[in-house]
């Protein structure tokens, strides 16, 4: 028993000092009074930042934009990722592993590189506009619009949807599909009644990861959203590094973290309630 503690001790020290402590400090900071002349007043307390967050139309707009962009990205990832994972699972070797790796490896390449790639594609004289012009159309403004942010976020998040769906597809017993076919079900019925219910836990956990990561994404909106199209993460960055209003930034960060955790926990509970019994996941 004591060996268990002894072996976890280094990790515990690190996580206490560099995870629990700083998060606690940030929570405290969000209640500190801020003054543009003297900065943070560590011994004066206020709820003003939280009130500002819930009353100021500027913050309201940012939270709303972050929410709908994340929700749309999540939806797109489901619509693209689930069929794609299913198609991959029905491929033969070696194509299956090749394409799986091809689709998932962008995950390991710096998000800055990927954002830059999209800015090349979507820029005023980028590849997409060149194609549009070549086809006789008029160039569109794509970069620094929600469209650019959404498409790049889908690109970044899609692997996070495909992975859990793929994992639940792997657990599927292929003979269950064959059994359904032999009992007279059509291919679409098999998909709808046999495959989809069984991969639902994977879809739901993918949804969770994608939404959480999209809602707190920083580099993509920072590079592809431009100066006007702010999301929660880029606003926190502004508060800390341009406005220097740390307590306000801390407040937004705390709310972002709490909303994230809340969604994850309640979603988890819902998923567990609905699927744990029937599927034993």
């Amino acid at each position: 028993m004591s060996r268990g503690y002894l072996l976890s001790l280094p990790a515990l020290v690190l996580f206490a000092g560099l995870l629990i402590l700083p998060l606690g400090l940030t929570l405290v900071l969000s209640f500190n009074v801020f003054d543009y002349q003297v900065g943070v007043k560590a011994d004066e307390w206020t709820l003003a930042h939280y009130l500002a967050l819930f009353s100021d139309a500027y913050f309201y707009e940012i939270f709303w934009r972050t929410f709908w962009i994340s929700a749309l990205v999540t939806l797109l990832c489901v619509v693209i990722g689930v069929p794609q994972a299913y198609i991959l699972s029905r491929m033969g070797t070696p194509w299956r592993s090749i394409f799986l790796i091809l689709i998932l490896t962008p995950l390991l390449i710096s998000v800055v590189v990927r954002a830059f790639g999209w800015s090349l594609l979507l820029g005023a004289d980028g590849l997409v506009n060149q194609v549009i012009q070549a086809l006789g159309g008029r160039p569109l403004k794509l970069l620094y619009t929600p469209f650019a942010v959404i498409i790049a976020l889908v690109h970044v998040m899609l692997p996070f949807m495909i992975i859990p769906v793929w994992t639940s597809l792997q657990k599927l017993d292929p003979s269950a599909e064959q059994a359904a076919l032999s009992l007279g079900a059509s291919q679409t019925t098999v998909m709808r009644k046999i495959v989809l219910p069984q991969v639902m836990p994977g879809v739901l956990s993918g949804t969770l990861i994608v939404f959480g990561l999209a809602a707190s994404s920083f580099a993509i909106p920072g590079l592809l959203g431009g100066r006007r199209l702010k999301m929660v993460a880029t606003v926190v960055y502004d508060q800390y590094l341009s406005e220097l209003n740390w307590p306000m930034g801390a407040t937004i960060a705390v709310v972002l973290l709490l909303v994230n955790l809340l969604i994850m926990l309640s979603w988890n509970r819902m998923v567990e309630g609905r699927y744990k019994k029937s599927l034993g996941v």
Partner: protein, 264 residues
């Protein structure tokens, strides 16, 4: 053997093109001889790669990232291996809390961790120092090592350790000759995954690095927000090549599909 119809294969092609397009474009533009971000139409040139190597700030940032990722991944491994053994082997009160705590950086936004550590480091007066930047990275990459080592430690045959014990192996010998070799693929895979994640990290690093300790992704991020020229494409292409090389190693060591999908 493919059981996909033409419609499915068409869909699949679009998805693959979508996933590959930005990376391919970056690599192509990197070879442009022009001064603007354009596809190389009049021939290939290495001028922008040369430009990268003339930029002391980028070279410095690259070395920073390399040393940072190496030390952080190594330290994370040193911490995660005993923790994984503790969690997988010993039943002790708080075990579930420990494993949840050590895995939590995966679900806490890096932005939140970044500003939280910025506050702590500012109070301590150490913000921008390499050591503390590195420790911050250790926190966010430890879960990756822990997950893989945990999977490996749970997957091995416990009775092999009992066999070694009954044959007379002491605690340290047991770990060195039996346990470690058996979990080694997990440890090595975890180290590499941690290395890649540390090397790529931008959101947290942007808050807790200084110009002297700036990492490559932070340097690139800042550069991309200020100016856009083909040198950025050349740097990106180099990063892609480096990542691809690391992935090949990762595939040989642990199996890429296992790292990415968690298949065992």
């Amino acid at each position: 053997m493919s059981r996909n119809g033409p419609l499915a294969l068409g869909f699949h092609t679009v998805v693959v093109v979508f996933m590959m397009a930005p990376l391919v474009v970056v690599c192509l533009v990197a070879f442009t001889p022009e001064n603007t971000l354009s596809l190389p139409t009049s021939g290939f040139s290495l001028r922008w790669f040369r430009a990268v190597f003339e930029r002391a700030d980028f070279i410095q940032a690259f070395y920073n990232s390399l040393i940072l990722a190496f030390t952080a991944a190594s330290l994370a491994t040193l911490i995660a291996v005993p923790a994984a053994l503790a969690i997988s082997r010993y039943a002790f009160p708080g075990r579930n809390f420990f494993s949840a705590l050590f895995l939590s950086p995966i679900i806490i936004p890096h932005l939140v961790l970044g500003v939280a550590m910025l506050r702590l480091f500012a109070l301590m007066g150490v913000n921008g120092s390499f050591t503390w930047l590195m420790l911050a990275h250790v926190v966010i990459i430890t879960p990756y090592v822990l997950r893989l080592v945990l999977a490996a430690a749970i997957g091995i045959d416990r009775s092999a350790e009992q066999a070694a014990e009954s044959l007379g192996a002491g605690r340290f010998t047991l770990f060195r000759l039996v346990t470690l070799p058996m979990i080694l693929p997990g440890v090595a895979g975890g180290w590499l995954l941690a290395f890649i994640n540390s090397f790529d990290e931008v959101t947290l690093s942007i808050f807790v690095s200084s110009p002297a300790t700036q990492t490559l992704p932070v340097r690139m991020y800042v550069y991309a927000t200020e100016s856009i020229d083909p040198m950025m494409a050349a740097v990106s292409a180099l990063v892609i090549a480096l990542t691809a090389a690391t992935m090949i190693v990762l595939d040989r060591v642990y199996g890429l599909d296992r790292v990415l999908v968690g298949k065992h």
